[in-house]
Subunit: 233 residues, 2 copies
Amino acid sequence: MIANPFFRRLDRLSRLSNADISALDNLFDEEREITKKKDIVPAGYKLTKVYLVEHGFGIRYKLLPSGKRQVLNVILPGYIIGLSAAIFSRSPWSVMSLTVMSLKAAPFDRFIETCYARPAIAIAMMSLSEQKHAYVSERLADIGRRTPIERVAHFIIEIRERLRAVGYVVGNDLETPLSQEVIADCLGLSMPHVNRMLRKLKEMRLITTRDQVMTLTNQTELGLLAGCDPTMS
Amino acid sequence: MIANPFFRRLDRLSRLSNADISALDNLFDEEREITKKKDIVPAGYKLTKVYLVEHGFGIRYKLLPSGKRQVLNVILPGYIIGLSAAIFSRSPWSVMSLTVMSLKAAPFDRFIETCYARPAIAIAMMSLSEQKHAYVSERLADIGRRTPIERVAHFIIEIRERLRAVGYVVGNDLETPLSQEVIADCLGLSMPHVNRMLRKLKEMRLITTRDQVMTLTNQTELGLLAGCDPTMS
DNA sequence: CGAAATTTTGATCACGTTCAACTTCAGTGG
DNA sequence: CCACTGAAGTTGAACGTGATCAAAATTTCG
């Protein structure tokens, strides 16, 4: 197994042979560096390449006519960017980097050819799509029916879980470049309210923060508050 | 092309050969009838079959510990049920019928075997997953950042668009079994508020309703109000 | 026709947005 | 090294929105 957050994710979902893995590895052969806060995929455009995230954080988001922004998903190492933008004639959303990112690119048509030649890869991609789908669905339940404090608690836990799956979690800490503004746009809240909810979580002694690092001091209680679906763990 | 809403959807997304189509048709060979308001997939369970919807409407939803319900997606003819519930060890959500439904079932392991044998099917499934993903993302932007009136307008347009894609739309009318309670749970609103917003749309002369049928009397204005993403059409 | 589900309406009020000001922090150039 | 700048975090006050609860009207269906 090649050390790479993407293959680590795939390995959890689906059985790929070593030949499949190295085919993928050969496919994504073009390196690309992105500076922070840079648009990678603009809404409405078609892409002819797909990207794997090696390092760094980004967001997938929609800008509404009112000027408001909804963050649809946080993009972590090991994630694919541009699949929808390559499949459909216009990307339904935008993607931008939050931090410096390093990507690996592959031409979409070669990617599809590889899927034909190695069905296991296509099936693994289907699983990945379904997993993405599950994450967005969870966020939908968050925003639609959870209270703001529950949303924030739930968000913290989910991001942690996803980072763990790509090997980025150490101990009880959680280190992310997510500003309160980004969190607000993820959760459909205003920035001041996110700030208040985070303060409340600190007052409840469920989390502490120092510098950019959040520490979960009482994970059980936090999960209870979040109304965590035992299904998803 | 076999007359079937699912194949009609697939045909829009991906090029399948006639052999692929008949392989799928043979695969989903078990007929199953579901009465109205019946659970089809319970949250937390694993399925060993996947289903195609031939007729009828359903919803995919989550029940939160607080007792509130978030509808994640409306299930229409031509949709697949149970893919996530078969891929993951526990279904992250529930599915229930709204109306009487007729389904066609296939064992999941045979479905996967068919994907191996016919990669075009696996690739088509990947496209379908991405499309589902786009729908849920659109709903996320709705609930997170659109005003209630915009949400309702947008919801009407989206459901119409999706029904059109499976050949269920005639003229300016829209006939669905979606009660205001279901719409409220789709949009993260309370039922009385959905009622008010629908009244407002009528006052604005954008829609009229008679019996179960809604008529869009001014689709342009409705789309403008919804802040419709020209990207998605 | 009767029962149940759905829609409609109203009154009240808590919650979360909005807007604005201020603080803190990080990065940069003088 | 410190002043400067812009970004991010923090706090407060006021307002408006949409939830909640309850009741009535209407429709649907057995």
